[in-house]
Symmetry: D3
């Protein structure tokens, strides 16, 4: 390793971007990379020893509003794959971090990057991995019925069902045309920053305590990246009430996981992500 | 129900189509609907009491060859969703059958069709459902490392892991540019029709017996729709050797399942597939 | 298949019949076949394309009252088996539907019918199969402590424990000599038909909502055939409250499942239901 | 407890008896109680501190040959229940031991005896209980395809699936009319007693070693009571080969378990085996 | 077996002893063996047919107060092992019973005793074994957060997670220096003996009912040996309220289990507890 | 964070040390820290950005030979805890890495360090965590029957049973007095370094391939730290044969995991590792 070359060279890729005219923007879709990364201040220390670029993510194919349904997650996942491939082909990165709470296109991105030996991490997956280091069961504090089902599907697909105590819904769905009484999460965040409290955080505290007392959660993670700003205040509120429970968010977990993998020289198993022309094949695959 | 109106009005949708110039075609991509449905003779009796249309499926976005990797399944799944929506909006169908062995876009299609109260079935899902009616564990006879992982992912996602004894690989990957010694499954089928045997079927017999004797399979299903033609000869070969094991394929299972659901007036649960604006919401989702 | 021959030739078999003098009759035990089939109007459309006969079921061996305990289920199950064999031997049927909520004698009936290649379905089993097509977990709305344990035993035996969110008890036990304050389910049904409501349905609504909100149910099924009449009103009441949850009952599910199997030419796996003199044997059986 | 009164007063009940003229008898069906208990010498020490009676079991309802299929197990199970009730009503016993390898009528017998506070044990159940005290997984050495499925069904019903490594078939089916080349297990036993070896024991040794080496078994139990005589010689043969694995049989396990329960004053939980008129009822039953 | 020789020769070993000067003694640490065995009257009948000795257990290495944390359990477990070895080497015993609710050093003791063919039982393990004979799921009524985690760890380690409905905390932590408001369990016991009730028992009743009604418990066991005195009064209180649920405690279960094993001539599997120089080795160990 | 202060301040603690006179030493027990860390060259890059100290571990309490049995693991685990506490109390470290393949005293160490907010990692645990990031199932390549059981116990305790395909035994037990034909692993390592091959590595290759082909492993980890030197050559040998499977060893995984946790400011959940005087307590703990 030549002296002075940075160890971590990361491509961060947003899940999606909206048009400049969209009335449903919840975060900056363009500008300096730091401005595009929500809650940058909290994340910055973990990026201090890395070179990193930010890709704003694909324009949403489904309409000019955020992603929440199965269909929308599938479509933006597909749209993100060419960006992943391009990042791999560029030769500039030794790790890719998929931003966004619901991991659109994650396993497919891992498959693509496998050909280049580049690890890819994603925010829900990384939180579940870290959660399983901290306690026996975690709950997901999440934002809406539709988003819950995405998280549910990820828990099953990643085989963390035995470790997931519950998915708790605080019911702040992402804004979209058919909503008559939207309560956008970024406005709740602004309210919290102004007033030190907001309905969204109060609901998260209530559901977190229910997850601890009723569902058996020992760790909490956040479902939607639009809710990641709650990590610190939710943790604090719970500590104030005497609950010594860690609260996770996805950006930092995904960044730390990709750094762990880069350090170990690992991406994913070629047996779990075989190429279309594998050197060896197995007669059977067991569950 | 007005007299004479047909009970079942089905839209069948292929997983994908290739261009006319593709060198990797394994089935007719256009023509009369019957010609586009592989193994039509075997399937026809189950369509006799139905009105049905065939959609050839989206042109493959990934390249002019069949679907086999995670990425390819994701991309064609995304490309199939507009076809599903169109079928729902047309008002012409009371059931949709997604053809193809790996169910691209299936849960998303169910979500779309939920808004219209139309049941959707898919070939891998339907086989697993039927298999669980017949015995306690099934094995999947499948064609390649990459395709196996798709089947594996579906088994986990559909929560049939406890019922899946194994996925057995006969290693006849679908043809694609980088294959130097392709053994296309449709040529194996032609060979069987000519000679009464072929390597692919022999391998399927061997892996089926291994699944029975070593893995504990009580039912067999086929992974790739390009292998569905083996259903009858594989069943026969196993019976000849004394194994009283049912062999399934996806087309008939998916058609029968959609008819079952139409008869019951069901599509999917609105709690499993909530809309983006559900009338009621739950505080928690348990695994 | 000769022209004009009916496709489905079904034998329906009640779980049991009581004597003419029993004071505990909840449904007609004899008369035209339509009169013996509870909720005939709702079921009739699914029988329209079938020839069908009704067997009133064996006289209860345990006493002249309905079946509810483990012992009673076992005894009537044993008494039903000769009827199943007779139906198979008659050559008149290509499908058998076991009526009754607790499936007495079901696996044994499948074993008998296996020798004749005739599929058998049963009401609890069929509901669980259909429920698993609609969502990830179901709850059973059931009538009493003793009956709950029967349902519990079936869930375990059919290996649906992972998909069963709960068994909810509305506590309307079937009438029997030692009951001092009976609340027979058929009188509740009569009350509902007269008044548009009754305590039993109210309790079912309450437990259904608890199953959804507390237990994670996405689909509801009914445990006792004496409660199947609630399918439509319970569904309606839940929809009125905004819950988009499917409610199942056993008769229609079992009929649709047997038709699905007849269409596919399947009964059960000969490896799951081996004969006493199988052609091939396996060195091991895995769980 | 009055001085001199025996602590254990046991009713042993055979699974079934054949007629005097049956050509398929494998053990004495009548005579002194000791003569009716197979392998009496090995069992006697455990009965030394008990008063005990032997019931020969019901005459087989299905035909004059041993029990092996699902149907036969169900029918003799039903026929055994009145004997259980009679034993309870007699007031003579404080424990009931159901003999026979496949536990016909066991849960129903527990339900009956619950009303009298009398514990009931059975041979397969007791072996699984003891096996789970000795190691993490057990295999069942069993005699035929049909009998294997009975054992499989019991493993699932008793919820020991996670602890059962495999069911191994040595293929010595019980004699019955349609067998053309019977190899009755009692003749194998006679051969062993005469020659010190026999094919049945050799096969059991081979399958036991396969269970250890391939399936992960740490404990072995025997499926059919007709094979219980192999306990000591199988254990010895395995020890001679260096395998320090315990081999169980059902009679001693069931006797020891009933004595354990009598000493603790326990039978079964009234919540697992509720009466038809329980004093309290629960709103829900969880799996 | 020579006439007159006692069948059961048991060594009972306490989990730990405190110094004479400890201010945290909850039971006599020395004196006649009967006085050292808490609740002797209830246990005595099960020891009537045994010769037995009592070892007071090792002096606590961690400090002069009772065991409750992971660290303390580990340290006293280590300190108990030489006592186990000495008991084995003495040749005086054919069974060892480890007293104490949290089973410190149990699997290691089994490993040691395996070399001598002597069965060892322990109180939590034995209760779980017996509980699984009585119903499908049990709850543990336990005394504190820290002790709960020990019980949780045992449930997982013994592979009873599927059978454990919940661990219920009545929050009466064992006394230790940093407790400002101790509510020692032995004082609660004294209060109950004087007044017929106490807060600890009331809390146990409340949590037991919650375990039954909310968690699905069919059997109850007690976590801490300091709470074993509640077995009879808790059972009685629940029966008075109509709940027919068995309540277990560890001393009697462990004694009965060791007697069961002695009678069967069993200790543990040599494959689960291999020596450091096993006669045979396996290529693989499956979970 | 003051400029220049090192981010990671790690205490590495060996599992045990032997006396200077022991005939069973497999690695240096004292000397410069680098010399005490086996395979230092491979590990060094991951320690480059850390300040670190090495503790040689406690002298073995059980005898002057390496740890392999349950008893030995328990005793050295107990002996390591004071070292952990001392490291925490020193205030010098923000992370602790427990060396050694079998994680003696790990959960107890986590409990101790929780009071100081210091994360602790251990080699088996860390490998399982990393393995679950790379594929769906892993196998453990391990050295002996006794050591296998330790690994088995850890897999169960850490709740990775569903992800562990198998534990494969290459049968190179650690040297100890009763071994007549020892094949010490460090001599095998020396042989490999001299000759480029050795029996131990050959056996590991054979069992790795069996784990892939027969057990369904997608990732491989090493059980004993004495075998960690095989990581690179085993990986290479498998790649040469075409198997694209990652091979892990514990040192690097444990170091990377502790760095991940330090970066996130996490140790473990206070609900999973409650203190003896927690600020809040829960009424129930669910599995």
């Amino acid at each position: 390793m030549p002296t002075g070359s940075p160890k971590y060279r990361l491509q961060l890729i947003q899940a999606f971007s909206l048009s400049e005219n969209s009335g449903y923007q919840m975060r900056p879709m363009r500008g300096p990379k730091e401005s595009m990364l929500m809650n940058y201040t909290a994340v910055a220390p973990l990026l201090a020893d890395a070179e990193w670029e930010m890709h704003p993510g694909p324009l949403t194919p489904h309409g000019d509003w955020p992603v929440e349904t199965r269909e929308e997650f599938h479509l933006v996942g597909a749209a993100r794959l060419p960006i992943v491939r391009q990042a791999c082909e560029s030769g500039k990165y030794n790790g890719i971090v998929l931003l966004g709470g619901g991991d659109p296109g994650f396993p497919e991105a891992q498959e693509i990057a496998r050909r280049y030996g580049i690890p890819v991490t994603a925010c829900a997956s990384a939180q579940m991995q870290v959660a399983s280091m901290l306690g026996s069961r975690f709950s997901i504090i999440d934002i809406s019925e539709a988003h819950n089902m995405r998280m549910h599907s990820l828990v099953v697909q990643y085989r963390f069902a035995d470790r997931c105590a519950s998915i708790r819904n605080i019911n702040f769905p992402l804004p979209r045309p058919n909503h008559t009484e939207p309560r956008p999460v970024h406005l709740e965040k602004a309210r919290f920053e102004r007033d030190g409290r907001c309905d969204m955080l109060d609901a998260a505290v209530a559901e977190s305590i229910a997850a601890i007392e009723e569902d058996g959660a020992e760790v909490l993670m956040l479902g939607c990246s639009g809710a990641y700003w709650m990590q610190a205040p939710l943790q604090q509120r719970l500590r104030e009430q005497g609950w010594e429970v860690p609260v996770l968010e996805g950006y930092r977990c995904a960044i730390q996981q990709v750094k762990l993998l880069i350090g170990l020289g690992l991406d994913v198993s070629g047996l779990a992500f075989p190429s279309d022309l594998p050197r060896r094949w197995r007669r059977k695959k067991l569950l």
